[in-house]
């Protein structure tokens, strides 16, 4: 083992939404923990340079410059002028696309927890049993009862506002008070109850504080979350888990540290530590620990494993199954319908709610809702609003006084519902690092191959049709379907490259997110997902992380790892 200052009880690789949880849990259990982050540090509040800007404080009206779009053709799809500093530069961080895949990344402390969409939904046994029932891929090694108390546990700290609905297929979280629906949304909910009594319309479940929690303030309804919140009113590693871990005195945080590989000790049959490239000094440093939590993101974690070669594991650490890097999933979305509404001309709202409405999955729940043409399902996110100047300008021809009068007054009411659909795990959707091309640090370039399948394509049609059907039958006019064709990665819900499973021959992780092959390595980011469900996945990563930390600590105490 190396010298003392490079030796820790635990190493956490990555500081995003799951890495932050690993650090908090392990530190609170008293373990001396090193958190490694490949990018720069981002300190809560201090490093949110645009958080208090007015619209006129930006040069380009919150649009992207040609220079930004040329240098970062992928990231600029996801960012704008106000939050681009939380996304990488594509030129500096290239990867290869064998088929179109938009890999959106934020290399900094906090990772993408700074810019995430904050929607939080539990998975249920409908999801955990799905692979087994459908004979798809492998079965999840856990069921809802295994994770349910851990959802409770993390939700109490994250702070999720939402409305209990008592649905078995979308279990309620431990909620802070729900945000309110506006007049049109309430109307839609009531009409849905009459026209589609079996479908639920609820307020979005979001990791924004509707009331203050611990040291974090309540949401101020600015809807500028992705710039970083100076009130700490949404959950991020920076606002929540990292400060909690720091408070224990057990955390050491090292930014600018690219983990090149996890080192494997052939004698102990365990990981001994990690080899890090310090991007400030360009030196290689080794750190050692008893346990390692790998939380470098679905694609990042698979990369590190594949790049960690040893005599025992010539194809990557813990890859005896050959599954690492495979079964890559992302939700398919950007499809739905919008419509206009003629009433409520005298009603408006104030404040900018960083949240919308949600219609939980209603397909393939049981025999009555079973589809003949596809399996699994989708949920809708959306909202009602009065058209603002941007929409009014796009819809109104002409110019001059009359145009201006329309532009500066509230437009008519409109509604939009957009679907997020489950994607099946396909072995051929994968990343690999087998080519000769290298990045500026001499590390092999990652290459992605990803395509949606027939099940997604057929489902997509129903996503569109069922959206417009609901709007038409609930009394909206000018109903328009849309399909903006997402490609893999667009949803930024990558999952599945180191899946959990019962059988070590066909999966990478066991039911505790512990590697089948290497007992002191735990992986609790999106790569562990055995299926994608259709819910926004981050909440599940958080619950699995807390659960795995509890298990790892008890195994450590027992001397098992």
């Amino acid at each position: 083992m190396g010298n003392n200052k490079n030796t820790f009880d635990a190493i956490v690789i990555g500081s995003g939404i799951s890495g932050g949880w690993a650090a908090k849990e392990l530190c609170e259990k008293g373990l001396k923990t090193l958190m490694l982050e490949r990018g720069r540090n981002v300190q809560h509040i201090v490093d949110y340079p645009t958080a208090n800007n007015n619209p006129w404080d930006f040069e380009y009206g919150l649009e992207n410059s040609e220079k930004d779009e040329n240098e970062s053709p992928i990231q600029s799809l996801a960012y704008n002028e106000s939050n681009k500093h939380f996304f990488v530069n594509d030129k500096e961080h290239p990867y290869l696309q064998e088929s179109a895949f938009h890999w959106i990344r934020g290399y900094q402390v906090g990772g993408r927890s700074l810019t995430w969409g904050r929607q939080c939904y539990r998975l249920s046994d409908l999801d955990f049993e799905a692979n087994l029932k459908d004979g798809i891929a492998v079965d999840w090694p856990i069921r809802y009862k295994d994770i349910s108390p851990w959802y409770d546990y993390v939700e109490k700290f994250v702070g999720i506002s939402g409305q209990p609905e008592g649905l078995s297929h979308l279990p309620d979280s431990v909620f802070l008070p729900p945000m309110e629906m506006n007049d049109l949304e309430v109307h839609f909910k009531r009409q849905m109850k009459i026209k589609f009594p079996e479908r639920c319309v609820t307020i979005g479940r979001t990791a924004n504080l509707s009331t203050a929690l611990y040291k974090r303030n309540a949401c101020q309804y600015r809807n500028l979350c992705s710039r970083g919140c100076p009130f700490g009113a949404y959950f991020s590693s920076n606002s929540s888990t990292i400060p909690a871990a720091m408070e224990t005195g057990n955390l050491e945080l090292k930014p600018f540290s690219i983990v090149v590989e996890i080192m494997y000790d052939e004698k102990t049959k365990k990981a001994s530590g990690v080899r890090v490239l310090d991007t400030e000094s360009n030196k290689t440093i080794e750190y050692y620990s008893k346990i390692i939590f790998l939380n470098a993101s679905t694609i990042g974690s698979a990369y590190i494993l594949l790049n960690s070669k040893s005599n025992t594991f010539p194809n990557g650490l813990g890859n005896s199954s050959g599954q690492i890097g495979h079964n890559l999933m992302d939700h398919h979305f950007r499809v739905g319908a919008s419509a206009d509404f003629d009433g409520f001309k005298d009603r408006y709202y104030s404040g900018r709610r960083p949240n919308g409405i949600y219609i939980p999955r209603f397909r393939n729940l049981n025999e009555a809702t079973k589809r003949a043409d596809y399996i699994r399902g989708f949920g809708f996110q959306g909202g009602g609003f009065r058209l603002g100047w941007n929409d009014i300008a796009a819809r109104t021809s002409g110019f001059g006084k009359e145009f201006k009068e329309k532009l500066i007054h509230p437009g008519d009411w409109a509604i939009m519902v957009s679907a997020w659909g489950e994607t099946l795990p396909y072995f051929q959707n994968r990343i690999k690092i087998e080519g000769d091309e290298k990045d500026k640090w001499g590390l092999p370039l990652l290459s992605v191959q990803f395509n949606f399948g027939d099940n997604e394509r057929i489902m997509r049609n129903d996503m569109k049709e069922s959206a417009s059907e609901m709007l038409e039958r609930t009394g909206f006019r000018n109903v328009k379907q849309f399909d903006y064709h997402s490609v893999g990665g667009d949803c930024v819900h990558e999952m599945g490259t180191a899946r959990m499973g019962i059988n070590p021959k066909t999966s990478v992780l066991n039911k505790w997110n512990q590697m089948h092959d290497v007992s002191n390595v735990f992986i609790t980011d999106g790569s562990c997902m055995t299926s994608s469900a259709c819910q926004n996945p981050s909440l599940t990563y958080m619950a699995l992380t807390a659960r795995a930390c509890d298990f790892a600590f008890s195994e450590l105490k027992k001397g098992n790892i």
Binding site: Y60, R347, Y349, G351, S397, F399, G400
Partner: protein
Amino acid sequence: MNRRKAVKKILLLGGGAAIGYSGIKGYNLFKNPDIGLLNQSVSLLNELAETIIPVTANEPGAKSANAGSFIVKMISDCSSRKNQNNFIDGIKDVIQYSMFNYYKPFEECSMTEKNNILQHFEKKGKFSTELFNKANRFIFGDSFFYTLKKYTVLGFCNSKIGATQALSYDYLPGKYIASKALLPNQKGWATF
């Protein structure tokens, strides 16, 4: 027909033909854009923007928000070469069209004349069916009028003057009120 009118008619035909062609001259879409002319056009662009969003009894117009400077910046830094050329060619066309038809620069035209000129460019910028418009935009880029209107609106509504004096701007709402009565002359929210 007096001589002046006859000359005008000939010029107009020639000018019209040239203008008609500039929309489908594929070969010049990627030429080096005349950024020099663009930078000299701030006051013209402010007048064009003011024609789109004019000052009214109670609210300022686009000129007071200096939408012209914003448009120049957006064309210089945030537009494809194709759209830069379309827009700068459009500036040239406006200069010519005003001179041919009203014998004076656009800035010196009356409100009615300015409206007539912009109506001409709005009509010229689009086909009668949306499908053609989409295909046209995809191949040839955005029309002059489309871009002018888009950036006038963006520049005005995001400016301090536009957001706080023409629209309603709430820097720190503090709470969300889901339902409230619309007040008389209620302005729309500047940010969403």
